[in-house]
Symmetry: D2
Subunit: 330 residues, 4 copies
């Protein structure tokens, strides 16, 4: 039985807590959150206790932590948890600066603890199946990947300001997906972007619509399209072209219903946002983490995947500022 | 908190037990099964106890029972549970003979207990949404309904022999769906059928492929197509034509993946069978039952729905034998 | 070069005339129509001449006729054309009474002329491909066929009155499709029907919504659903279930456009009506006729197919009136 | 009646000739081709005459020319036809160098003749409907456009060598589509590309897989994905995201057939290549040209559209070579 301490009792924290509870080989022991009301509610629901960080990490029965607190606390919690010898499952990002990410990775490595990063896309059943088929060479060699990721609506500008910007906050998921599917590290990156959704986002120094192109050593290509707005809901699609065909994963719909009337034929909009769309992925990612820790295997994606995605995000920003293709070490 | 005793610890029983456990206002207290190994395993998983029928029904803390044992035990368990004053959630069918069904309904009515029948189709998210849209008159007046229901493969002939035959065992679900969507009781029924899948089914006196047509007083029509075989998996579709358009619910697929190669463009087959396809429906039907019992409201579908579906199944068989349309009281 | 005389210069006549003109090995020589304005216009467009029936049939250069005049003239024109030794391509129906159909077939047979019947469904590219795949046994043995055929709106009641009724006028196409795909002659037929679209249709003694079930000697089943109304346009679909899978042909859409907005995701309605939906079929059926006549081969579908479809229509009507399954000679 | 002289009697020339013949207000008078056998065959089919360029252009009855000869003859024929006062419908490209394109435009302008360029995508029924909906603001303001264009297989390397390269030969269509849909001129362009399909293409100095990003003054974005290979056929899709939703046009399939078996559910591959896919577009583009010339209106797209697309192709090549975003005058 793997006992968990969970940092963060918000929306995403509640989901992770439920998925721990659901797993036969795991148990939620502690909940830590500065919002003690939320912490109490979540702890009570799952028969856990609300304690301080120190108490939680000092308990030798705690084998693993889930870090789902606010972004600015991630790095400190990773380091503290690593030093306490706990296996770590951390919501993205590790941190918004590469330096801090690298220090976290060093601490985790030094402590010999596994550090998993919650890139949920890899656990979406359709995306995961796409990747399996790719690895089985169902479409031969990868040639061009196209990733579309659009949020239904932009977050508050207050969030934008502390988010690290679109590339580090939103497209970071797509950078990870790109690396996962390309099967090679990108060596060139080029970004183009605009602020089309809300001028306040531009005022905050960010963009809300962006196109990024990646190229690997052997010439494989990837294009990523991001927007903070999609009137029809959360748009999450992947299309991979290979030498022998194409694989694509479309959006998921709440029902299979179709209605045909005088005014046309319609079906449902995609599931609204990440909590709904990635519900199965959240279950699967925690299950994979628990299984890996239990089996003493390295979890995947890991801290290094988080670092590499951040390198791409930083390079995208540099490309955008300098109006040129940025080269990367493979 | 509604305490449950569950009769039957098989495949479907395990699902109901899990859905009781998942519900915040319900608890599994007892498991009863002649297979004590299965009963123990299920009880242990959910912190319940294995007891006899008598002990379970004598416990005043038990408010409700789930009957998911073998078909031939349903009627006895309904009557015993009713007499013990328990709310009843029963897997279909109540019984294979109309007489016994009527006696069960009388006993439940006499005891003043709610009797819900597990017609899971009504709780499938796509079918339920279709029905909501129909009731909202999204396509005007119902004109023609088409229900397709095909199992991936036939059950063992030993099961066929005690099943009551295709109309009572399989199409009974579609008769309930038809009644639910037609909004009126059928007054005419006509059946045509064949044995095309396995001659052993014919030897057992049953058919494996059947078409049935229903007609209501006002002239609404419904066609049902059943087969014990579908090479591509479990085929469960509904199409409703109304004066202002069509509503249809297609099969559910495990992923949204599409692969395009030299040999064509393909996607997944439908979810394999009822446990997968109706997973959400099983959750929703038990939730609806718990909510109804808790609120002291009548659950739906109820025992009377079970009786009416059986009347249609019997009439279909009569139509098939006599080669004519059979009239029914509205 | 096969020279044609065409009887009828209306909508469907214009289409056949154009398809004759388009064919490299055929030429429209004469147009005959009681509406001389229409006849002149059509003749002029294609460099043909307007003449009387007698003149046209007396011309030895005329090798073939297209009969696209009003239904009540078909039988006379078939007999006159046959006696004049012309190859005949006739719009459905040959006649509304079986007696007259049989006399026409006898005359054509006596004269040794080919008599093709314009059952256009067989030439629709999707339906034709479905049938080819069926014959290649792509889904094994045929088990259950489902044919949906719905007109966008009912014809004028004046037409209904002379049409022979829904079974002879509309479902006759589906009877032919059923025979073509079943690969065996139906030996049982059962009909259920209502008047749901327009009470004036009931007053005219007809129905506007009908379900028919067919069964062949070996037990293959077919269900046909017809309605004179479909708010979303012309609905023409076929679904065939076999021992190894399913083949289905869906409706054709004018464009592949999809629009996703806050209010849902929509695409086009089906092509509006037969002139648009079966444009390719009209071309292909005349091409097949010209090719057959040129090669001195028997055209298909032929007069006998017309007769058998009418036998089914008559039997459907009898089944409806008598409330029972009607047996047919195989 | 508009009399045409057509230059070029190859595959695409045959299609244009047929579409002239089909039009009620146009007639093919002359065919000119160095391959006299092809010229004779095409002329004979349509009742035209084979003559020299000089004879054709000297005939005052000739009102218009179609230029469908080899690329290296386009510019000379445009200038000669313009000087002879003929309306010009020219296959793309006008020429592979911007200088020569500009001189052609100047000559046409000087002569006061209309010069239409055959960018067939604009006339594809689905793409044209997409553009109409866009102009009607069905999805609000344009934000991000995504164009996918993949040939089923690369042309011979001999052709690649004289083609002007992927950007001028293939992506030029997509540059035109981008301009047409963006509603603003691009001011920035960035290209990334590889040779993944055939090393012989790299040896010829070209690429076969390319991603290009465009940005307009107001920040609208467009990404274009091109490949010389698609195992599943000709892939031609457009997706437009706007402030109020998305419009997308998918590939066209030969039939609507679907087959479901034990091994999955499949449908047709897209129509194989441009002759099939753009058959309706070829008809519509010539019809639009004839209508414009007849009505003395300016045809669209015109020579200037050809010039602007070439400017984008040249800039894409420059971006690729220099590894940076290239700015363009709006």
């Amino acid at each position: 039985m793997l006992n968990f301490c969970q940092f963060g009792a918000g929306r995403i924290g509640s989901i992770h807590a439920e998925n721990i509870a659901r797993h036969g080989a795991a148990k939620l022991r502690y909940v830590v959150d500065v919002n003690t009301t939320a912490a109490q509610a979540l702890a009570q629901k799952h028969g856990a206790e609300v304690v301080s960080i120190e108490v939680a990490l000092a308990d030798p029965l705690v084998g693993a932590v889930v870090i789902a607190s606010s972004t600015d606390t991630h790095a400190d919690l990773i380091e503290a948890s690593a030093r306490a010898g706990k296996a770590i499952f951390c919501e993205k990002p590790i941190d918004l600066t590469l330096e801090r990410v690298e220090s976290c990775l060093a601490v985790a490595k030094g402590a010999g603890v596994p550090l998993a990063l919650a890139f949920n896309r890899r656990f979406d059943p359709s995306f995961a199946e796409l990747q399996r088929r790719l690895v089985e060479r169902a479409i031969g060699d990868v040639e061009i990947i196209s990733i579309t990721s659009r949020d239904p609506a932009p977050p508050p500008v207050a969030y934008i300001k502390v988010s690290g910007g679109l590339f580090r906050d939103m497209m970071i998921h797509d950078f990870d997906v790109a690396r996962w599917l390309l099967g090679e590290e990108p060596v060139e990156i080029t970004a183009t972007a605009s602020c089309l959704v809300d001028p306040a986002i531009a005022d905050a120094g960010d963009v809300d619509s962006a196109l990024v192109t990646l190229r690997t050593e052997s010439g494989r290509l990837c294009q990523i399209s991001n927007s903070r707005r999609a009137a029809y809901g959360y748009d999450q699609r992947i299309e991979v072209h290979g030498s022998k065909g194409m694989l694509r994963a479309e959006n998921q719909l709440p029902t299979t219903l179709e209605i045909a009337t005088e005014s046309g034929v319609s079906h449902d909009k995609p599931l609204y946002f990440f909590l709904e769309r990635y519900a199965a992925a959240y279950r699967a990612e925690l299950e994979a983490f628990i299984d890996a820790v239990t089996a003493a295997e390295a979890p995947s994606p890991c801290g290094e995947d988080g670092r590499r995605a951040l390198v791409l995000a930083d390079a995208a920003l540099q490309s955008l500022r300098e109006g040129r293709t940025v080269k990367l070490a493979p």
